[in-house]
Symmetry: C2
Amino acid sequence: MKALQDKIVNEGKVISEGVLKVDSFLNHQIDPQLMKKIGQEFAELYKNEGITKILTIESSGIAPAVMAGLLLEVPVVFARKSKSVTLIDNLYTTEVYSFTKKVTSTLTVSKDYLTEDDVVLVIDDFLANGEAAKGLIHLIEQAGATISGIGIVIEKGFQQGGQVLRDKGYRVDSLAIVSSLENKEIQFS
Amino acid sequence: MKALQDKIVNEGKVISEGVLKVDSFLNHQIDPQLMKKIGQEFAELYKNEGITKILTIESSGIAPAVMAGLLLEVPVVFARKSKSVTLIDNLYTTEVYSFTKKVTSTLTVSKDYLTEDDVVLVIDDFLANGEAAKGLIHLIEQAGATISGIGIVIEKGFQQGGQVLRDKGYRVDSLAIVSSLENKEIQFS
């Protein structure tokens, strides 16, 4: 996706060979116009797949997921990273380790909002080691729902998450795949 | 806002006289169509105010804020509830106590995304005791930016946050004001 690649090149900050910071339009400040275009891309890719629900994770997945949900006319559910006091039981849960933040979080989704009748499109901001995506897949499996595919805004192609998911047979659609951050240069594949 | 009130009546769950749960369309599952209408309301209310930025808090403020930002054609910044390892310094910070979750969090916003030139619309999902709104105001004050107003999806009119903010001279626009949850009935003012 050209507009996204341009934005990454113009505003992304390479912190190290593994870390790309896109706080100016996705992870802290959000560019709503770009999110709309991203939502359009996902909606176009999945418009004939009978999607009934989009599943994402708080917080950075919400904006692209809601824009896709608007066009696909389906609800968006965001998995929570910690348990809320008003939502104690009736939950699907899974543990996810973040290599970026070096913490394990518990992801939860209420059983009310994910059922065996759902055909789910997973949307997330980044795909690196694939831990978050695997956690979301585990939640969907607990519900007995169908996983249609995984839509990613930025995949780090030099980390193994995308390959692992594709090898397992999941459809993965990444709108930008960064192949290298070496020498502080952002390369796409 | 009629569509919002209807949704609250049809899907809101009164947990106690103080707690209204709207997990089916705002706080866990998100209704993108309703979020678009909410964004349109906020955009209409603030279209002539010279807004340059919307400030919200992760996670439930993001969807309505992004929809408003799309129409007002301004970026959305979400204050983070805990510090990220890739964003250590260069921050405005403030402490916020959540009466619902009974925890104090540190809200942070990067100095890169909020400056003295900004005219800010604050958007949040709920207004109850006003702690979150006061935290966001404190962040905006640290930046030396201008606060144009505070847009709230659901105000609990029986708690004092809205009154306190209005008494201080802030413009507060709540799309639905719940006046009572007594006897498990949702009343609007």
